[in-house]
Symmetry: C2
Subunit: 204 residues, 2 copies
DNA sequence: GTCTATATCTTGATAGAC
DNA sequence: GTCTATCAAGATATAGAC
């Protein structure tokens, strides 16, 4: 099969690009992102989006034919932005321990906005009901986070490099979990607190 | 207002008791519990339950008038059973560190069943869309877990009692999060692995 | 306790005018 | 790009017979 033929058979949803959204499409993606983080993919409807954006349901369908299309673009944009944020941390913060604190702050800032979950944490919980295109993005998100955390933990404590992978999974899981557990708790800074406990107790 | 009057105004759903379920009602609760753990409260319908149990939709409504009623009973039973399991651990395992490993195994065993999430982890993510009666149960679940973990961590390391609360939140969050992150990863033992990393690295 | 039948509403989605 | 109108399917829920 030629490369051209391969491109032709790509499903329409895969050709959408979050970097080329019209202003109206971008507003829809913004609202959908917030609704997923607040209520989950199965907890909102096109009608909810239409009312928040201030348009009608068919106008939403004009920009994103199906809910699966919309979720794919929302997730794609979130994952790419998050990966960009990780690259920014590498460029702007030299000390590994401070970089890890800034990383935890990414989760805390998300949570500060009306206790919003990490988009991929919410979708990860619902993943059994999601289209494959979204699940693929989730894999990328978690893998990128684990790779970044592992590398940063090795930099912070080279003598413990052997356990860096396991600690990366521990910290990522703790941050995702803290946003969920924290919703049923009074504290507003659960993600920052678990990260602090992690770094202090492990002397990172 | 008299105590009697207060009882009278209790909504019907609050009077349901998971300890007095008929065999048919219990089968429905079993199936609903599994569906929530697999797909979430907003990811299944009465029709799904009916088909799995092998009855018709109205028969499900006969036992649980509304989806909120059903979710309340499912959650109530799950939380009480989990608290009983914690009491069993206290009775049957003397050494605190082994008790913590057995605790983590509770999550791992849940996860071994088709990557089922902790029921309260899934509902915690969806909590913004849930009835108050379910949210109340979630608070109880997480508080009971944090109290049990804090006490057990103090027993394991009395000299670190001051940080036991923060470490309890770290471990609980990590276990809940590992089930979610793990769904997008190849490993089948994410909960057990994060618990092991926690106990090893913190020398518990 | 279970069923058939039905009501009502919501949801995701389409047709076609402007 | 947005709208009105509409649809088919699915979801929650009820009425009433057996």
């Amino acid at each position: 099969m030629t490369i051209a033929a391969k491109c032709v058979v790509l499903p329409k949803s895969s050709m959408r690009d979050y970097t080329q959204l019209s202003p109206a499409a971008e507003r829809i993606v913004d609202v959908a992102e917030a609704l997923i983080q607040h209520q989950g993919f199965n907890g909102f409807s096109y009608e909810d989006i239409a009312q928040t954006v201030g348009i009608r349901k068919p106008s939403v369908h004009h920009h994103f034919a199906t809910k699966a299309d919309l979720a794919t673009v929302v997730t794609q944009r979130y994952v790419q932005r998050f990966i960009s944020a990780l690259e920014n941390l590498d460029r702007s913060i030299v000390e590994p321990r401070k970089r890890l604190l800034a990383y935890a702050q990414l989760f805390q800032e998300t949570y500060n906005n009306n206790r919003h979950l990490c988009l991929c944490g919410m979708l990860g919980a619902e993943s059994e009901t999601l289209p494959a295109s979204v699940r693929e993005q989730l894999k990328q998100f978690f893998e990128a986070n684990l790779n970044w955390l592992t590398a940063t933990l090795v930099q912070a404590r080279p003598e413990r490099a052997a356990s860096a992978q396991a600690l990366a999974m521990l910290l990522l899981s703790a941050l995702e979990g803290a946003m969920i557990v924290g919703r049923s708790r009074p504290e507003a800074d659960a993600p920052a607190q678990v990260a602090q406990a992690f770094l202090e107790q492990l002397s990172v």
